[in-house]
């Protein structure tokens, strides 16, 4: 993250809440409990917390789109609801799903919001000039917004929000579904604005972003768990963060063993090491993990992420019970997914250019790349949703485009966008997919009950899925994909927008099924997740620019400056090298 050298001491309070609470009609619990927070100018206030914590509700209250149940909000000394007309130009709000008109061009979208904010004449010309340069969208002014990549859409959304130079900028998860490069760019752009003294509220699921904020507000179930500088929080976890190193076997296996230690609150794979968080009242005992005599714990500097998990009480799911219900696949090392010269052209544009991958049984294979690089195209061709222009994709020995339904029976699929039936309940969705995969009678009920239990969805069994928080939706999607015990699992950005705790659980489950010999093909924008892959390939501009194990890929990006790059560093360096 770029360093932010904004003088926080000289800043003034731009927005504040006083005893603010919000309870939605028909809800039994308040979405926000009485809340007193302050947002200062010249800095970024990070808003973090698990799904359903109330982040979006707070944003909407600030934007004057919701009325508080009690308490008040002051923005620049005014009330966002009563003084909506005078505040209009002072607040820039970018909703989570920013409403770009996809059938309008970049220019037309900008024009619309410029007019709505009353921006005219020279001021408007200058603003367009600087924003288009700033967002690097100049080349695309005549392109329909719907044809932009995810990252470019977010940049355009930000540009529209920034028109009229707001004093308070409200950004609701601008990084969701955006690749690391675009995310860094967004962050850099916002950083540049701070010098003008504006206040930014940035809600995020990326805790490295939160760590770079001047102050953070950590919400959970509508309550503030922490408010202050992120560094302050790290005091809580100092001395309790370790790196497990020099163990025998895979990092994934080591993580599993370590997490079984009741003293561990959290664990993630980090290259050849496993990062562990120790409980306050217990000690990690590396000797009991059975990872060989060399295995040792090395103290590490706490990060905001560790403190976040700590405040939320750790990650409860240690072991995936999925491993017990998924049928065991033979360890035959067979090639399960293979492509040769897989190419897709849309007119002159080559979306995927001779992609060659080979995935063996029981492997987790990652497909990484910036937005619009051709990951989704490749993914769709593999699933048989898109016909390749040339080349071939074989899954479980067959071409899915020509195969009969028996072949598709063997795979599970989780789409990038939530794509279960929003108007049906959790149970009905699972029941449908059970039937669609040919399950009948008792097997259906059993499988559904098992999934509801494993994914902790029992409480929402009769809720329409469109009303669920994102984390629940993603869990349900995974449950639906696994219901019929597939031997191959396709996961397209499964953790996009999901909070860190849920992401950990997700990967515990994925690791659980991999143990049973299930093959997983995954795309992700979380570079820490790429560490879970056995092998991965990095796609940029339709071509594979690097392939191999995570360590091999990182090695390729190592330079004198950064001898031991993180996955994210490697990603950025490799993609930058390709596009340069």
């Amino acid at each position: 993250m770029s360093a932010l050298a904004a003088p926080t001491d000289a800043s003034s309070v731009i927005a504040s809440t006083h005893g603010l609470s919000k309870t939605f009609p028909k809800a039994d619990k308040p979405a926000l409990a009485p809340l007193d927070i302050q947002v200062r100018g010249g800095g970024v206030t990070g808003l973090v917390g698990p799904d359903g914590a109330g982040k979006t509700t707070l944003m909407r209250l600030f934007a004057g789109l919701l009325a508080p149940t009690s308490g008040s909000i002051r923005i620049l000394g005014k009330d966002p609801l009563r003084d909506a007309d005078t505040l209009r130009g002072s607040i820039g709000y970018m909703p989570q799903k920013f409403g770009l008109y996809e059938d309008l061009t970049v220019r037309e979208n900008l024009d619309l919001y410029a007019d709505l904010k009353g921006l005219r004449g020279d001021a408007r010309r200058d603003a367009f000039e600087s924003l288009l340069t700033f967002t690097d969208l100049k080349r695309f002014t005549d392109r329909a917004a719907g044809k932009l990549s995810g990252g470019m859409k977010q940049k355009l959304g930000l540009a529209c929000t920034l028109l009229g130079t707001p004093k308070l900028l409200l950004l609701d998860e601008p990084g969701v579904g955006v690749d690391p490069i675009s995310r860094r760019e967004l962050w850099r752009m916002v950083g540049e604005l701070l010098s003008q003294g504006i206040a930014v509220v940035w809600s995020t699921a990326y805790l490295d972003e939160a760590e770079a904020c001047d102050s953070v507000v950590l919400l959970n179930a509508g309550k503030v768990l922490f408010a202050g500088a992120p560094r302050e929080l790290n005091a809580n976890t100092r001395g309790r963060v370790f790196c497990l190193k020099d163990f025998d076997g895979s990092a994934r296996g080591a993580l599993k063993q370590a997490r079984r230690d009741p003293a561990s609150m959290d664990g993630v794979v980090q290259g050849h090491a496993v990062r562990l968080l120790e409980r306050k009242d217990a000690r990690l005992d590396v000797t009991r993990y059975g990872l060989g005599t060399q295995a040792r714990l090395e103290p590490a500097a706490p990060r905001f992420e560790d403190s976040f998990i700590d405040l939320l009480g750790g990650v409860p799911v240690v072991d995936s019970r999925l491993a017990k219900v998924i049928p065991e696949r033979p360890r035959d090392d067979a090639v399960v997914i293979a492509t040769t010269g897989l190419t897709k052209k849309f007119g002159d544009f080559v979306a995927a250019d001779h992609i060659d991958i080979e995935v063996r049984r029981g492997e987790v294979f990652g497909l990484l790349g910036p937005n619009g690089a051709g990951k989704s195209t490749t993914f769709k061709m593999l699933c048989g949703l898109l016909a390749p222009t040339s080349g071939e994709a074989r899954v479980a020995g067959v071409d899915l485009r020509r195969s009969r339904s028996e072949a598709r029976q063997r795979l599970g699929y989780m789409a990038q966008k939530f794509s279960l039936y929003g108007d049906l309940s959790v149970h009905d969705n699972l029941e449908f997919f059970a039937g669609a995969y040919g399950m009948t009678g008792k097997a259906v009920t059993q499988a559904i009950e098992r999934m509801l239990e494993i994914f902790e969805l029992r409480g929402v069994r009769h809720t329409a899925t469109q009303e669920l928080p994102l984390g629940f939706k993603q869990r349900l999607s995974l449950a639906a994909a696994l219901l019929h015990g597939p031997e191959i699992l396709f996961l397209d950005e499964p953790t996009s927008g999901v909070d860190p705790v849920t992401r950990r659980e997700f990967w515990t489950h994925i690791n659980g099924v991999v143990e049973r010999g299930v093959t997983v093909l995954v795309t992700t924008h979380f570079m820490d997740e790429a560490e879970y892959c056995d092998r991965l390939t990095l796609i940029s501009r339709g071509r594979q620019i690097a392939s191999g194990t995570p360590d091999e890929v990182k090695e390729r990006a190592a330079t004198a400056d950064i001898p031991d790059p993180t996955m994210e560093d490697a990603f950025i360096a490799l993609v930058a090298g390709d596009t340069a």
Binding site: F24, P25, R60, A63, G64, L65, L66, A67, A84, D85, R88, I91, Y93, M94, P95, K97, F98, G99, L100, Y101, E102, D103, L104, E108, D111, L112, Y113, D115, L116, K117, G118, C160, D423
Partner: protein, 375 residues
């Protein structure tokens, strides 16, 4: 403050118009579909029965009976199918191969000869198609009367003179049903365009998340209403002009009113139709329901209860009362008057008042239930 507000509305309207132009399905519905419908109304809907398919069962083969049958066979009003078996003919009637049949009994010639006696001729019609059945009955009655007169003349008897009616039709002397159907059909088309096009446009902004961004940019309820109204109003008036052009220019329906009045009435009606569509769109949150509602609240009532196809005066009192809340009713009356009678203000005034009230009601309701906030 005012010019700024105006500029915002103009901007939003421009955005909506660009979206309309970029979606081929909208243009198809607004410009091609009306033309297709006009042709269907001009050729497909006709209440004046042409030649009807009539069966004649001749149980009597005598020259007298044949002469009787010839009256029908030679009439331009009938396509005659001859038969000898009443049951076979009944099957044809049931299968809608003939719309009615006449049975000439075996004793036809004998009874005709006998003084003071009249042979019985039976006409059976297909009552399942009441409109056609009454036409068949009327035509057969007329042809029968002609036959009787000819028989009387042939036999030298004098037919007594009866009372007759001399009909003259004001406005539409040749009673071409097209002359009243086409102006009326414009109503249906305008209802469809007004209500259908707008019935989904608000729900769509919510579904795609653009509404939240607009609201955050401070768009007010009035602005929301106006920018959804104005572009579709212009589009609607465009298709209205197309319909009127076709009616007058291609189908030669005379127009006796003034175009100024025509456009005044049409704009008021269009506002009410757009208002209904926007109300549906605002009140329903999913597109499936919006579709069902638009079909059931706009099209079918306009078709059935506007007086365009079925006479309102003939309906039972409660249904008559119900038609008063259907804007299409007022527009049908106004259109038929304007086209065939001219600017008859006593009729147009009432219609205009009804339409203005409907427009105000639907738009007002839409304004009231439009939410400015996200709850």
């Amino acid at each position: 403050m005012m010019p700024q507000r105006l500029r915002r509305i103009v901007t939003l309207c421009r955005k909506e118009s660009v979206q309309i132009i970029r979606d081929p399905s909208t243009l198809l519905i607004a410009l091609v579909f009306p033309a297709v419908l006009m042709f269907i109304f001009a050729y497909g809907i006709n209440f004046d029965a042409g030649a009807v398919r009539l069966g004649i069962v001749l149980e009597d083969e005598s020259p007298a009976a044949r002469r009787f049958a010839e009256t029908y066979a030679q009439s331009p009003y009938f396509h005659v199918t001859f038969g000898h078996d009443e049951h076979a003919m009944a099957d044809l009637l049931r299968a809608e191969q003939v719309r009615g049949f006449i049975v000439v009994r075996g004793d036809f010639a004998r009874r005709l000869e006998r003084p003071g006696d009249t042979p019985t001729v039976q006409l059976v019609t297909d009552g399942a198609e009441p409109n056609t059945a009454s036409f068949v009955a009327g035509y057969v009655r007329g042809a029968y009367a002609i036959w009787r007169r000819e028989e009387a003349i042939a036999s030298g008897r004098v037919m007594p003179a009866g009372l007759t009616l001399e009909e003259r039709y004001w406005f539409n002397p040749s009673t071409v049903s097209r002359n009243f159907l086409l102006p009326g059909s414009v109503t249906i088309i305008m209802t469809v365009i007004g209500a259908l096009l707008t019935s989904m446009v608000v729900a769509r902004e919510w579904e795609r998340g653009t509404m939240e961004a607009l609201l955050a940019a401070g768009v007010t309820r009035l602005e929301l209403l106006l920018f959804k109204l104005v572009p579709y109003f212009c589009l609607g008036m465009l298709s209205f002009s197309l319909c009127v052009g076709l009616t007058v220019g291609v189908f030669d329906v005379p127009f006796r009113g003034s175009y100024l009045t025509l456009y005044l009435v049409a704009s008021t009606f269009l506002l009410s139709a757009l208002g209904l569509g926007l109300l549906i769109s605002t009140a329903t949150r999913n597109q499936f329901n919006a579709a069902q509602a638009a079909l059931n609240a706009a099209f079918l009532p306009a078709m059935m209860l506007s007086g365009f196809v079925f006479e309102i005066a003939s309906m039972p009192a409660p249904v008559r009362a119900f038609t008063r809340i259907i804007p299409a009713r007022y527009f049908v009356t106004a259109m038929q008057t304007l086209f065939q009678a001219g600017d008859v203000w006593s009729v147009l005034g009432r219609s205009l008042a009804g339409l203005a009230f409907a427009a105000a009601f639907f738009l007002g309701m839409t304004f009231l239930i439009t939410r400015r906030r996200l709850e």
